[in-house]
């Protein structure tokens, strides 16, 4: 830290500093990322509570008890949403290392692992394809329908930061939204996962993550925002 060498900077820096100091306006420091992540997760919790009011909870509990992999998968998707949101809020700050993107991976592995177990089990039991296809379509519509407002809320909150890794931030935010949407889906779709069901879930997750990544590339890119 050669602070004493402050006189060696070139004139262009001095000119830029003069301009920046002249342009200075008071700013409100960002609230703690835990609080900001908590607000978004609170929004997800409120959505879950509303869905729980309309859901057939006894049927849901019965289905989950019969197939432990289902609640394990639900736990995994919820964990992905929580860890993904925390990681996304970290990545929206300029001084955070990209390693924060690894934070939601345990939840994601848990989620995909439990879904895979359920998938293997239902390969043997599966029969009525028409019914499964109809359910899958409804699932996809629900996931995308939930993902849009959750994405908008998350993007608006993350925009308050200043990410130097906009694509990574968008990708992790997509993971959090996908995890939250699939967790909420469990309230209205308390059935066994199936091979195709998991494929549709994955497609939904990829769609949300990709949409967020594409949007994130522009939305969180500080340079683009000032062009």
């Amino acid at each position: 830290m050669a602070v004493t060498d402050a006189t060696s900077h070139s004139g262009s820096h001095a000119h830029l500093i003069d301009t920046l100091a002249a342009d200075l306006k008071p700013v409100k420091p960002l609230r703690a990322f835990v609080l900001r992540a908590g607000v978004w997760l609170g929004l997800v919790a409120v959505s879950a509570s509303i869905l729980a009011l309309f859901a057939d909870l006894p049927v849901m509990a019965k289905a989950m008890t019969a197939a432990p992999d289902m609640w394990l998968a639900m736990f995994g998707s919820a964990l992905t949403a929580v860890l993904g949101a925390i990681a996304a809020f970290h990545l929206s700050l300029p001084d955070r290392k990209p390693f924060w993107a690894l934070l939601p991976l345990p939840g994601l592995l848990f989620w995909l692992g439990a879904s895979g177990l359920g998938c293997l089990r239902t390969v043997v039991e599966m029969g009525a394809y028409e019914e499964i296809f109809a359910e899958m379509r409804d699932c996809l519509v629900f996931i995308v329908g939930m993902a849009i407002p959750l994405s908008v809320a998350l993007i608006l909150m993350l925009r308050r930061g200043y990410s130097l890794q906009p694509n990574l931030t968008g990708m992790v935010a997509g993971m959090a939204v996908a995890g939250a949407s699939v967790t909420l889906l469990s309230f209205v779709h308390p059935h066994d996962p199936s091979v195709i069901g998991i494929a549709v879930h994955s497609a939904g997750v990829v769609m949300v993550a990709a949409a967020n990544r594409i949007a994130g590339g522009r939305i969180f890119n500080p340079r683009a925002a000032h062009d």
């Binding site: 050669a2 602070v3 900077h9 820096h13 920046l20 200075l24 008071p26 000032h226 062009d227």
Partner: protein, 195 residues
């Protein structure tokens, strides 16, 4: 013992910078000015530590200054400022290295070829022609609209970057680009007519 003294000096500097940044967040431009000037050697040192070539260190410094300005609301005064600045400087250094890597893959460094290339404009009457031409250009520039003239002055004559010009003029980068483009078209038209 000297290490302890050094650590105390670092800690004191960090406290000072954190305090200046907190004041800057509240709008104190004098504290902000002092902070940015004091940080310059530190930013350059981080850039050199990331193996940024000497001729690119200034680019990193400028990028970091702009980033600090735009991201100043994300700094938490309860955390060390030096660590915050170091990560930003490291990331901007990597950005500059990537940018220069891409540039080097497209361009070649041939100083001899550059020196030996004959200047087609150099001739006995070049000075006289140039003085006439600069008068013509000056006259043409003064005939432009204020926005276009500003764009030409900042971007072409003063050789400012788009970001700097936007700061100075208070116009957006897009508006500056459009004004420059229109100004160049207008100047080309005027100069072609005179020829």
């Amino acid at each position: 013992m000297p290490d302890k003294g050094k650590q105390a000096h670092y800690a004191e500097t960090d406290r000072q910078w954190s305090a200046w940044m907190a004041l800057a967040q509240a709008g104190d431009s004098r504290a902000y000015d002092a902070l940015l000037r004091d940080c310059l050697p530190f930013i350059a040192q981080v850039a050199r530590g990331q193996r940024v070539p000497a001729d690119r260190v200034d680019d990193v410094v400028q990028d970091v200054l702009m980033t600090v300005h735009r991201a100043r609301h994300t700094y938490d005064p309860s955390r060390p400022f030096t660590a915050w600045l170091r990560v930003i400087a490291q990331r901007r250094a990597v950005d500059v290295l990537r940018r220069s890597g891409r540039q080097n893959s497209r361009e070649i460094y041939a100083p001899l070829a550059y020196e030996l290339h004959p200047d087609p404009a150099a001739g006995p009457a070049a000075g006289w022609e140039k003085s006439g031409l600069s008068q013509q250009i000056g006259k043409a520039v003064s005939g432009l609209s204020p926005g276009q003239r500003e764009a030409v002055e900042q971007l072409a004559l003063k050789d400012q970057s788009l970001e700097q010009a936007a700061m100075v003029t208070g116009r957006s980068k897009g508006a500056l680009k459009v004004n420059l483009h229109r100004a160049l078209s207008a100047l080309r038209g005027q100069l072609d007519n005179k020829e």
